[in-house]
């Protein structure tokens, strides 16, 4: 089908404008991160007056960025591992067996995703404070406490997506394995999990990404030692001044790992994300 010329032109114009809109903040982030401070404090300039890598050196000492980085890594990593491992069992159960309460379970998992985070924030906050008072275990402000709160969104999401992936693995495969003498768990780990590895990796990346970018729980449930990047980036704003070049450099540094991971795995991610919606 030959597209008319007007279509080609309208497409060209629309996609160019959209690309500009999408990339504008990326350009601002990159160019400002290489500007000297007087350049970002004064009027905005499209072309920097001079380039410097100084902000990339200073970001590590202005705020303890490395510490925040490690905190984010630990919290997001642990939340990801927990939710993916638990979701593997649950998704296998749902995709391979018929049992009483199956529908109730999937509907519950699905519907918890619509609950606003703010709904869980207040009760979890009070639960942690009270557990701390009663037992001396400091959940509030600790990494464990934050990891638990992150499961409120990463677990239902992981279960939901893995059910889709496991259902796309042909049932004959694990039934054949069971005929050959595998138990159900043997079939899960020798056949279903290996076959669904792309899906599992995608779910893990997505869970990690969401935890890495989470702001609400991190801003309430962390203290000086457990602060994550989401909260830590505010440290570049002092009472008198905002080191915008350092803010932009730090933003870029914390974005690169997840954006790179996302773009590398986008094929699997997109397949998984859309499977649920399109079906």
């Amino acid at each position: 089908m030959a597209a008319p010329r007007s279509f080609l032109w309208s497409r060209r114009i629309f996609l160019t404008l959209l690309t500009g809109f999408v990339l504008l903040p990326v350009y601002v982030m990159l160019s400002s991160s290489l500007k000297p401070l007087q350049d970002v404090s004064g009027k905005f300039r499209w072309v920097p007056s001079g380039l410097t890598v100084r902000p990339y050196i200073d970001i590590w000492s202005t705020v303890p960025l490395a510490k925040y980085f490690v905190n984010s890594l630990i919290v997001a990593g642990a939340a990801t591992v927990c939710s993916v491992v638990i979701a593997i069992f649950a998704a296998y159960g749902v995709s391979r067996y018929r049992f009483r309460g199956k529908r109730l379970f999937t509907v519950t998992v699905l519907s918890t995703q619509m609950f606003p985070g703010i709904l869980f924030l207040l009760p979890l906050f009070l639960i942690y404070v009270n557990i701390g008072n009663a037992t001396g275990i400091a959940l509030f402000g600790s990494r464990i406490g934050l990891i638990l709160t992150y499961l409120t969104f990463s677990l239902p999401f992981s279960i939901w997506m893995l059910i889709g992936y496991f259902e796309s693995v042909p049932r004959d495969l694990d039934e054949a394995a069971m005929v050959d003498g595998c138990g159900p768990l043997g079939a899960l780990f020798r056949v279903v999990v290996p076959a669904a590895i792309p899906g599992i990796v995608a779910v893990a990346v997505y869970a990690f990404m969401t935890a890495w970018g989470e702001v609400l729980f991190a801003s309430v449930m962390t203290n000086d030692t457990t602060r994550t990047l989401a909260v830590g980036l505010k440290g570049y704003a002092t009472q008198s001044d905002v080191y915008w070049n350092q803010v932009m450099a730090a933003s870029l540094v914390v974005s690169v790992p997840v954006v790179a991971g996302f773009l590398l795995l986008q094929r699997y991610l997109v397949a998984g994300l859309t499977a649920g919606a399109v079906k």
Partner: protein, 329 residues
Amino acid sequence: MTVTAEPAVGEEALPGATGPTPRRRTGRVRRIALPYLLLLPALLLELLVHLVPMVIGIVMSFKELTQFYIRDWGAAPWAGFDNYSLSVDFDAPVGAALLDSFFVTCAFTVLSVGLCWLLGTTAAVYMQETFRGRGFLRAVFLIPYALPVYAAVITWAFMFQHDNGLVNHVLHDQLGLTDSPSFWLIGDNSFIALLVVSVWKGWPFAFLIVMAGLQNIPRDLYEAAAIDGAGMLQQLRRITLPSLRPVNQVLVLVLFLWTFNDFNTPYVLFGKAAPEAADLISIHIYQSSFVTWNFGTGSAMSVLLLLFLLVVTGVYLVLTSRGRRSADV
């Protein structure tokens, strides 16, 4: 218990088998129990992170939970429906502010979801056919989706700065559209700023889902239509959009829930107290709870929000499924 359970998959009734032997019975019990065992860790955690907090949240909403009772919230006095009547008393300051915030959130959500859908669908339709650079553009369009929210929104906050931001530089210095540089992060303009950031961040999701939906439309439909003399616009109206309907129904619901509940964007853009014009409901509840330390009222507002979302989602699902059913007939 196990007697009433449905048979698990793979469990055939063996003809001629005369009652289960003890060994076979343990195998049967194990097979019926197995799905529950697989679900057990997930169930326990769901209980811990969802059910228990929700029950406590509802209990909290009936208590007079101020900062004096945070250390021991069980001791807080019962408030009955006071928190609720305070929240919905629209003539008093608390209720009036909540109502304002609710309307702002509704307007914001409708505009944001509409624009995200429009941009995403247009881009996806334009990129339905392959052309040079399509893969590259697709990757570029995913960047807003992949960037951590705070990094992206903080960059927008920088662009919206009054003195050294790009937006004022372009609008005022370069294009001369405004008499003086505008304020974007306070006052009425903050609504526009929030909307722009939200659309920037949200439209790639619509793009992804619609792209996937377009791939499921059989090519021969278009070929047949082209032979019958249908132009591109007609094909869009008669084939593409109707085929996308089920996809769009899910997409719009998901976008609605995300946008309505969004906390990250306004919080990073404006800080703890959003300007009135951009006071989204989740940040309003956050402020009522953690800044003024009144958890009881905050919880009541959360429960009201949840009820509203449940009703809207329920009505939406009923309407769309009825539409689908009547379309099938």
